[in-house]
């Protein structure tokens, strides 16, 4: 796991939580939307909080797809649930809302679950080989491989 991949997982967590919060904040400002007045749903998109929330959810989706391209689904999904923990912590420390003991227990369970998965390998499925095969068929950069350099150095020595 590289630092960049940890950043992608952090993006999955943060973008989902921030996107949901902003959508919720924006929809509270626009008021309730009824099925008989669907044009009010279009008006809701013009609210800056709703628009920003949608943008952040797009960013979440991009990070989620990125993570799924190199990690198992059962590895990535716990990272998405860390967003719930983040929201509860923001509610407690930034919004000064009351967080019940049951919710603290929920936070502890999710954190425990994520730490269980984070200690293991990111990719275990058989698709690992097929992904490598696909990459092997792709155009190579103009840099000689380690084997080619090694073979050349042997040739020079001989």
């Amino acid at each position: 796991m590289t630092f960049r991949k940890y950043l992608v997982l952090a993006g999955v967590t943060v973008f989902a939580a921030a996107g949901d919060s902003m959508l919720s904040h924006g929809m509270k400002q626009t008021g309730s939307v009824s099925l008989h007045h669907l044009q009010s749903l279009l008006l809701a998109v013009t609210n800056p909080w709703v628009a920003l929330g949608i943008l952040l959810l797009f960013a979440f989706f991009a990070s989620y797809m990125n993570a799924l391209s190199w990690a198992d689904l059962t590895y990535v999904l716990p990272a998405t649930s860390l967003g719930y923990v983040l929201l509860a912590l923001v509610a407690k420390f930034a919004l000064h809302e009351q967080v019940s003991p049951l919710r603290w227990l929920g936070i502890a369970l999710i954190s425990g679950g994520v730490s269980f998965v984070a200690g293991g390998p990111a990719l275990t499925s058989h698709h690992e080989e097929s992904a490598k095969d696909i990459l092997a068929d792709s155009p190579k950069p103009d840099v000689p491989s380690a084997n080619a350099v090694h073979a050349a150095s042997i040739g020079v020595k001989r």
Partner: protein, 126 residues
């Protein structure tokens, strides 16, 4: 009767969510490591590979159906039941489906994690 509708709705949400996640995971594995593709061939190759994958579109359709099923379920049952139940059962369903359809090695560590996270989500959202 309303109870049956609510739990039926939750079941439909879970089924479509799991199908969406599994198809999306399969699509992205078929696309390959996007970091590697981006480094070698640039952004448009990555976008092209994703948009030319049929599983990606099926996954988006399943996720959209899950979203609309959730809206219907919320009209039949309380949000404090529907949201945590659907989220928790989706975690467990995904662990089972990933083992069966994606051949992921869901060992004891990942089962415990799925159960802990499902329980935690139920407590947080409940």
């Amino acid at each position: 009767m309303r109870h049956i509708y609510t739990w039926g709705g939750i079941l439909v949400v879970v089924i479509f969510s799991v199908i969406g996640d599994i198809l999306m995971a399969r699509a992205m594995k078929q696309v390959g490591d996007v970091h590697e593709w981006f480094r070698r061939s640039g952004l448009w190759t990555v976008v092209g590979r994703i948009l030319s994958n049929s599983n990606f579109f099926l996954a988006v359709c399943a996720m959209a159906l899950a979203f609309f099923s959730l809206l219907f379920s919320l009209s039949w049952g309380d949000v404090s039941l529907v949201a945590p139940a659907a989220a928790s059962l989706t975690f467990i369903g995904n662990a089972c489906a990933a083992k069966i359809f994606l051949h992921e090695k869901v060992d004891r560590r990942r089962w415990i994690a799925a159960i802990l996270v499902a329980g935690g989500v139920a407590l947080l959202a409940g």
